[in-house]
Symmetry: C2
Subunit: 148 residues, 2 copies
């Protein structure tokens, strides 16, 4: 099957700027209070009009930190050895076949082509792939369960 699966090319639409440099911090929810700027390419500024109406946005970004060239099919969730090996698609490890991160963040404000957001768990310099409005209901099922 792998031979029949298509490849696709992405072009970044902007870049993330924050104080999280070489590596992601450890600990739970470290990102909750991190404020980042998302600088979108100036040619796309107009495409952000209307985003201010939403309290939260979805950011798709490229997890560009280099972990390794290998992609193990199973990993310890959050890198913690005490958690049993789990299929990578059942975790949020950045080391995955297509290294796209998805974060839902609070939109603090917008100035032209720059979005100011809180709660983004991305490294400084991460390329931005897409911005979408967060739509309660569509993006958040009411009856979701973990460890069902």
């Amino acid at each position: 099957m792998a031979d029949e699966l298509p490849t696709m090319t992405l072009k970044a639409i902007g870049v993330i700027r924050n104080d999280i440099k070489d590596r992601l911090p450890g600990g739970c929810d470290w990102w909750a209070d991190v404020v980042s700027e998302i600088v979108i390419d100036g040619s796309l500024t107009e495409a952000l009009d209307g985003l201010e109406k939403f309290s939260h946005i979805i950011v798709l970004y490229w997890m560009h930190q280099i972990v390794t060239n290998e992609i193990p099919l199973k990993v310890h969730p959050r890198g913690r050895q005490e958690f049993p090996l789990t299929g990578l698609f059942a975790t949020r490890t950045p080391n995955r076949p297509n290294r796209i991160g998805k974060a839902t963040v609070s939109l603090l404000g917008r100035q032209g082509n720059i979005l100011r957001v809180k709660g983004l768990d991305a490294l400084d310099g991460s390329p931005v792939i897409d911005i979408k409005p967060y739509i309660p209901g569509y993006d958040s099922p009411v009856d979701s369960k973990v460890n069902r």
Copy 2:
């Protein structure tokens, strides 16, 4: 800035199979009851282990339907002329710089490399880019607002 923005290559990890053929249906929430199969490449089967614990998963897929080669910066939300022109990043239009769709769907079951899901608003044949567990709290802010 555009010249400095990187390009990235994706390789599909699977394909979506359902009864939604040539074009997406109209109407509100048409996708809510659609059942789809997500067929993941057999070499990645083991990477799905553990996903069964989650009631919902996030599917990133390529919106491969051809709308047009042009990407207008502003669109009428949901294609409805009565809605005012809005920046494309403040809508979920498939016609965007990087045509990645993000859906949160109910995981009905898994058989080997095939996931059965409900609520996916994708056309039959859409390439799958990533599968992530849906994590309440991380993926769903409690205080989100539209039209604030």
